[in-house]
Symmetry: C2
């Protein structure tokens, strides 16, 4: 038996999310079926971060235990074999590595990077439809970045946690919250990226944070309102949950 | 009567190209129908660069003559009205400007920028499927960039011109050919962009140039081979035509 770590990219737009569910195709099911296709093995993938329906990944990580292959295969061959069976789905195994049997994609994760992507311009999205959140009105990104610093550090994030969140504790440590802007088109449109890092996140935490910071970007809230909302420890005091289509799980770091 | 200039973004993946054809939906038809939807007018769009099936645009330009609207509309309102009728197609009018009746999207163009986008990594594309050309084997981008300089300037580009090209002359002046690379994923994959500028291009010129420079990137051809192919003025001496899905019409400059 060998434990493999898979690093995975996907467009979550047409899936019910990472986890197997009865109401539609999941990323997990697609990859497990592709593994069965090339190896005949029925493995169970253990994932680092269960992404919701519509959320994308540039560097999701999952592990699974495989029986030894009839013919030895290296990581490149394993990734290629899975991808051949995933075709033409928008899911790709970027890398497959043998890890020791202590490794766990979720419990061994030291740090996760999520990026939330906004296209800020009046006109509808053409090229990036479904791969970014479209915000029409001009946003004050400097104000959003400044207000976001109120969320850095160790806090009770109940205000930014989905009411169905299963985590035992609402305490989390937010290590990074930074904004980046880039010109997006030739007509003044901008791409706005929010990068957030923590060892782990609560359900909908990133989407609730950006949904609330957007109120600052629109001039409706101040930095003090963000700090007050956090201190209230009450989901009803936070802003709306931003759409899944803007969220990317970018990278997971291990020791 | 008022002449309007439209700046347009689109994902060309599901279209037969810019121009109306009998074998499927075109970008031109979609926009002309959207204009008819909001205004009742049957206008004919005159485009700067007729893109082929599958080619994308970040800044295509077209013009058309409109009868005066019953209620005056500014550029923002015109773009918004067209986009409302384009929905949910991956086409968006970024900007609508009134221009004088001398303006012609194609004949008044002083410069065009095309970018060809390659994702260079072993694993299949997930997020950018259909929006970049996937090249598995590592490319020598420095060699491609150096070889590309042999094509700069005023030349007979018959070697890089589609055999069905309708242009009267094969002479063109290539003003810029530059490569840019960026990290693309967390597993060593790279995004390689080729930017080319000229006042006008021959049919398939950009795709034939990059298709040939890829032979240099793979170590099969040298810079001297590129110069020889150009000097031969013979399409059969050039490399293959790279796929449409990597090509973007980025910007068109007017006086």
């Amino acid at each position: 038996m060998t434990r493999w770590k898979l690093t995975i990219e996907y467009n979550g737009g047409d899936y019910v999310g990472w986890q197997r569910q009865n109401n539609g195709p999941s990323i997990q099911q697609s990859i497990e079926e592709a593994i069965h296709g090339f190896s005949g093995q029925e493995v169970t993938l253990h994932v680092a971060g269960r992404t919701d329906a519509g959320v994308h990944a540039r560097g999701q990580v999952a592990h699974a235990d495989f029986d030894d292959f009839t013919k030895p295969m290296d990581g490149f061959e394993v990734a290629k074999a899975i991808n051949a069976y995933l075709r033409p789905q928008p899911i790709s195994v970027l890398k497959a590595d043998i890890v020791d049997e202590e490794f766990h994609a979720r419990y061994a994760a030291k740090n996760k990077l999520y990026t939330y992507r906004i296209i800020n311009r009046p006109s509808l999205l053409g090229l990036d439809r479904g791969q970014a959140f479209h915000v029409k009105r001009p946003l004050d990104v400097a104000a959003m970045a400044d207000a976001g610093t109120a969320l850095l550090g160790h806090h009770d994030f109940t205000t930014f946690r989905d009411s169905n969140c299963q985590a035992k504790s609402p305490m989390r440590t937010l290590d990074r919250l930074e904004f980046e802007t880039r010109d997006y088109d030739n007509c003044g449109g901008r791409e706005i990226l929010m990068h957030v890092e923590a060892q782990s996140f609560l359900h909908h935490q990133v989407r609730n944070i950006i949904g609330t910071l957007l109120l600052v970007g629109e001039g409706k809230w101040t930095k003090a309102d963000i700090a007050d909302a956090l201190a209230a420890k009450d989901r009803t005091r936070g802003g709306p949950t931003a759409p899944a289509e803007g969220l990317y799980l970018v990278r997971i770091d291990y020791a």
